[in-house]
Each structure stands twice: as C-alpha cells, then as structure tokens.
Amino acid sequence: MGALTLGIALQRNLYAVVILSGAYSFLMATVLVALDAVDVAMTEASVGAGISTVLLLGALYLCGGEEAKPLTRPWLPLVIALVISGALVYGTLGLPAFSDPMAPINTHVVPRYLHDALKETGVPNVVTAVLASYRGYDTLGETTVVFTAGAGVIALLRRIRRRKDGERKS
C-alpha cells in the first residue's frame, strides 16, 4: 500500500491516479478483513473502490485529466511530513502493544456489548446491534449527514435554464 501511495503522489495522469486509488481501496479492504473487521471491509470495498472511483471519474471528465508540473520542488512539505512522522512515531511508543486484551479499548464498555447483545436485541451481529440499537442516535446523525451531502450536491450542481430569452443561469 505504501508503493501505491507513492505512485499516487508522483503520477501526473489523473485517470491513472484514480485507478491506483481504487486498487488502494481494495487493498485496504483486504487488510481490514485480516483485522477481523468484516462489516467495515465490505463498506470500504463498495464505497471506496466503487462509488469513489465512479465519482472521481465523473469529476475528471468534467475537469480535465492532467496535472500540471510543479514549478518549485516541494522540499518544505517533504520536511514537514518527515518531522510530523517523527513526532508521531515518538508518540506511539507509549501506546499499548498490538492485540493486548488488557488495553483500555477492550475493557470499558465492550465486554457488556459482547456479552449482552444477543440477549437484549436478538441480533447475533454485534456490529449491527451496536450501530442500530446501542448507538442508534449516532446512526441517525450519520444518515442526516448523507442526506445533507446529497442536498449540497444538488444545490451546487443544479442548472436552472431560461430558454425563452436565451440566458442561462447555473
């Protein structure tokens, strides 16, 4: 995936970049399956590699598919990126090791979810039970966000045409 990201950064033909990002999404979905996150992998594969690619190709058709050559070599962003990565690596040294059952993420409220979800909701898929029932309010907010994005795109890209006097308003 690092190699794909390097390709995305350096490649200037934007159609190729879109295909590379679709391949990146599929690889990410595979990694997520390896991490036991099957619901997330299905969503990432369908949304990231499917819908994102379609939308990007649609936008590229409307905008032109070549990126201009940068005028100055981007040394400052590279230095900034390296400094930030150094600081983050230093920060992760204090985090719990991979797959630690005693880490705080695994001990607060999750044992209750895993224990009681089948009894209280009758749904074996704990992710669906938490998403729709225990944290249902968040899912309402998320559905509203999706609705707002749709409304926003409609507002931005709508065309109102006046045919009579030949004047066109976007």
């Binding site: 991490l35 036991d36 996150a37 990007l56 201009a68 962003p77 059952p101 992710v127 944290r135």
Partner: protein, 121 residues
C-alpha cells in the same frame, strides 16, 4: 517497546503522512482530494488495528467461538467511511464549479486569477 507490537501504528503513520504530503504538496485540486481520502483510510486503520485480538474472530456471536475482536471501532469507522464519501462528493462538486468559474483546477493558477481580478478592481 517492541517492533512487532507497534508495527501497525507505524504503518498507519506512514499512510497518514503520505496522505498529508499529497494534500499540502500538490497543487491539483482533485489530487488533493484523493490525498485527503488516503489520510482518512489511514485513520480507519488507526482505530481498527488496536481492536484486533490475535486468535479472535469477527464479532458475530456464534456458539463455536469464544474470543471476539472489538466491535466498537467497527461501528465508528462504518460511520466514518460513509461520511468520508459524502465529503468527497461535496468536494468534487465544488471542484467542478471551480473549474467552470476559473477554467482550471490548479491551485496556483486559481490564486493568480484571483490576484489579477483583485488588482483590477
């Protein structure tokens, strides 16, 4: 501090910094949006990797398994993925409108056009 214990964090940081570099170093607006989505996928890894328990399985309760991976990050990241694609769609709609208004989607050309327009007024 062991390499094996923290490798997932370092892979996440690599992807995060790569996405950040693309956003700040490239001038094309569509490429910036793709870099932003790479950044977002690295955040998904950041949340889900610590929840995995070696020897566990997907969090679907069944009598055959005893140890399950942590389902809470899955829920949060499911929401985050959908919100991410909504943001991408809105960003692309804005890019299309910018292209129609300025004639280009390169950041420096847009800034030059703005500055030239500002000088005339």
């Amino acid at each position: 501090m062991s390499v094996a214990g923290h490798f997932s964090y370092w892979a996440t940081i690599l992807l995060m910094v790569a996405g950040l570099y693309i956003v700040i170093a490239r001038g094309n607006l569509v490429k910036k949006l793709i870099g932003l989505s790479i950044f977002q996928t690295s955040v998904y890894l950041l949340y889900i990797a610590p929840g995995k328990l070696i020897g566990g399985t997907a969090p679907i309760i069944s009598p055959a398994f005893k140890v399950y991976s942590n389902p809470l990050p899955h829920v949060l990241i499911l929401t985050a993925i959908v919100v991410g694609v909504a943001t991408l769609a809105l960003g692309l709609a804005l890019v299309v409108r910018i292209q129609e208004a300025y004639g280009s989607i390169e950041e420096d050309e847009i800034l030059a056009a703005d500055r030239a327009g500002g000088d005339e007024e």
